[in-house]
């Protein structure tokens, strides 16, 4: 399978980053970047990345199923990740998660019917001092409040 020229260039750089004979090292970054472009680690991505990294598809699958950010099924256009770990919990992260779930009408690791949103209750995302925090795709939203969350979801709803 082919990827965008940018991604191909990134893969090429990746493969040069590791010592000779160590192209397997590119496996996890490749999967992450491929997932960003394709939307999920599809069977086709597994086969392709396995081939490029010189491993078996099973070895790729072992890795994909291990890491929580890699997923075989496509997620929503906006993947809303609400941290409920200790620092966020103490400042209402759990309530924010409930709120998001109610608003979007979906639960943990579910996607809305229109594919716009998916929701995940995530572990610590490294924003403890600016809790509660949310990540939408790779973007951080710090010091969240119920009002800010409503606004955020509404703005994402509007983006064409």
């Amino acid at each position: 399978m082919t990827f965008s020229p940018d991604l191909e260039a990134r893969f090429a750089r990746l493969l040069e980053s590791y010592p000779p004979g160590r192209r397997r090292s590119a496996l996890i970054p490749m999967l992450m970047y491929a997932q960003d472009e394709v939307g999920a680690v599809t069977g086709e991505v597994v086969e392709e990345v396995a081939r490029r990294c010189g491993v078996t598809p099973l070895q790729v699958d072992e890795v994909v199923s291990y890491y929580s950010m890699l997923h075989r099924q496509p997620q929503g256009k906006y993947h809303v990740q609400v941290c409920t770990n200790i620092s966020c919990l103490l400042r209402g992260g759990d309530k924010l998660y409930e709120q998001a779930s109610r608003k979007l009408g979906i639960g943990h690791k579910e996607t809305t019917a229109d594919g716009r949103f998916s929701l995940e209750e995530v572990e610590c995302i490294g924003a403890c001092s600016w809790a509660p925090a949310i990540q939408v795709n790779y973007d951080f939203h710090h010091d969240m409040t119920p009002e800010k969350l409503d606004k955020l979801l509404a703005s994402l709803e509007k983006i064409q």
């Binding site: 992450m32 890795v63 200790i86 620092s87 409930e98 572990e123 610590c124 001092s129 600016w130 790779y138």
Partner: protein, 436 residues
């Protein structure tokens, strides 16, 4: 200043460039002492560099607190194998959010730290292993690396010294376990983040089976200052055997949560009250997790102590990764214990029996307990199961899960007892309890 206002009590060594215009740029870095540590290191013999780091009493900022200079000295310089420098930027201990800032606002400081380490052990390639969630940092670091290469601070023949060093960023993909150094190396090699059997330690057989210096981001970031100002100067900032400053991540129920650079040995109560502005909403302090979620909890009465490795160890806890989580009087400790165990059960790699089964058991047990289905015998059982993991797991994750649990049960037994026999959680108003 990023994210939170600085505190006048801070001693800003690693964070001194934070808040400067375009602080991540090489120009800003060079205008504020950038690469001077490296230039001094160039004049030293490798063992002199390591000696300087030893003198600084810099201890690993990832959590274990192992003396950095000693760790570097274990690398067999004479080995015919290539050596590697790996920065652990997998910051994922709950309560910790400092490395993120160091990379975002001063990436060249990290690069210089790694470069000095490379010089000390004769490494020519380095990797920054960044947790997947910090994608934006990869862009920042890649830009910094490009900039440094273009100006001769990385790449071949650095500053005409004849020394070569390349740095690459490498993204993780969501696994707390990869913060453990050998699991990180497995992940760097494209595998599941399962730790390795140690020994051999990474200094001897690390990345790609080669000698490797593997340190936390903050540890590397302290190195340029140490080389520039001398190890003794850094050591003098802290307490004996606990050199320098460190970044504390104050979170939870305080008025001014934030990341603050304070000298080692800074008093915890002062940190909460004077740096953090006190417990929020005028509430009383109940407990503090002093170094990230894997550290045993301190009761309010135990918090009048200096924040350094040895003082925390004497208090039965750990300085850990600098995540100071403050809890007010209304906090349900059963709920906190449960939330912490949920995390470790989620993050257990599954390799060894006690961690895999123990975290799963404790998660279920604490959930039942929190939901009101506990019995008196269960209180003892929680501690027993945690103790059956303690010191027996393949890697420190088992201890990380067991230690706080044991401390919660031992220090807040009355709260566990208050949950018995289906009574609603006494810390939460009826009907408001949220399943964790």
């Amino acid at each position: 200043m990023p994210y939170n206002d600085p505190s006048p009590l801070e001693v800003r060594i690693l964070t001194r460039r934070f808040g400067l215009p375009d602080s991540a740029s090489l120009d800003t870095y060079l205008a504020h002492d950038g690469f001077q540590g490296f230039e001094r290191a160039l004049k030293l013999k490798p063992e002199e560099i390591i000696e300087e780091v030893k003198l600084s009493h810099l201890r690993g900022r990832g959590g274990a607190g192992f003396p950095a200079g000693l760790k570097w000295s274990f690398v067999p310089r004479s080995s015919p194998k290539p050596k590697y420098i790996v920065a652990n930027a997998d910051e994922s201990e709950p309560g910790t959010c400092k490395d993120r800032l160091l990379m975002e606002y001063d990436p060249h400081q990290l690069l210089e730290g790694m470069l000095i380490a490379a010089l000390a052990v004769d490494a020519h390639a380095g990797y920054i292993y960044i947790r997947g969630e910090y994608r934006y940092l990869i862009e920042i670091l890649d830009r910094a690396i490009e900039e440094a290469r273009a100006r001769g601070y990385l790449g071949r023949n650095i500053l005409g010294s004849g020394f070569d060093f390349e740095v690459y960023t490498h993204t993780g993909a969501g696994a707390y376990e990869c913060g453990e150094e050998s699991a990180l190396l497995e992940s760097l090699e494209g595998k599941r983040g399962v730790p390795r059997i140690r020994p051999p330690f990474p200094a001897v057989a690390g990345a790609f089976g080669c000698p490797t210096v593997l340190n936390n981001v903050e540890t590397f970031c302290a190195v340029p200052y140490i080389l520039r100002e001398g190890g003794a100067a850094f050591a003098a900032l802290g307490t004996p055997k606990n050199g320098g400053t460190r970044l504390f991540c104050l979170s939870g129920h305080v008025n001014r949560p934030g990341v603050y650079e304070l000298p080692m040995g800074f008093n915890l109560l002062r940190m909460i009250h004077e740096v953090g502005g006190g417990v929020w909403k005028g509430k009383k302090l109940k407990a503090v997790i002093p170094g990230g979620s894997s550290c045993p909890v301190l009761k309010a009465g135990e918090c009048d102590l200096p924040m350094d490795y040895d003082s925390l160890a004497r208090a039965g806890s750990m300085l850990g990764s600098g995540g100071v989580v403050v809890m007010d009087e209304d906090t349900c400790m059963v709920k906190v214990a449960l939330r912490i165990m949920r995390f470790y059960a989620h993050e257990s790699c599954g390799w060894c029996i006690p961690c895999r089964e123990g975290t799963m058991w404790l998660r279920k047990l604490l959930q039942r307990f929190h939901d009101g289905g506990g019995t008196r015998a269960d209180i003892g059982l929680i501690g027993d199961v945690a103790k059956s993991m303690l010191g027996r797991t393949f890697c420190p994750l088992g201890d990380a899960a067991a230690m706080p649990t044991i401390s919660f049960v031992e220090k807040f037994r009355e709260e566990f007892e208050a949950h018995l026999d289906g009574r609603p959680c006494p810390c939460e108003r009826a009907g408001e309890a949220v399943a964790v």
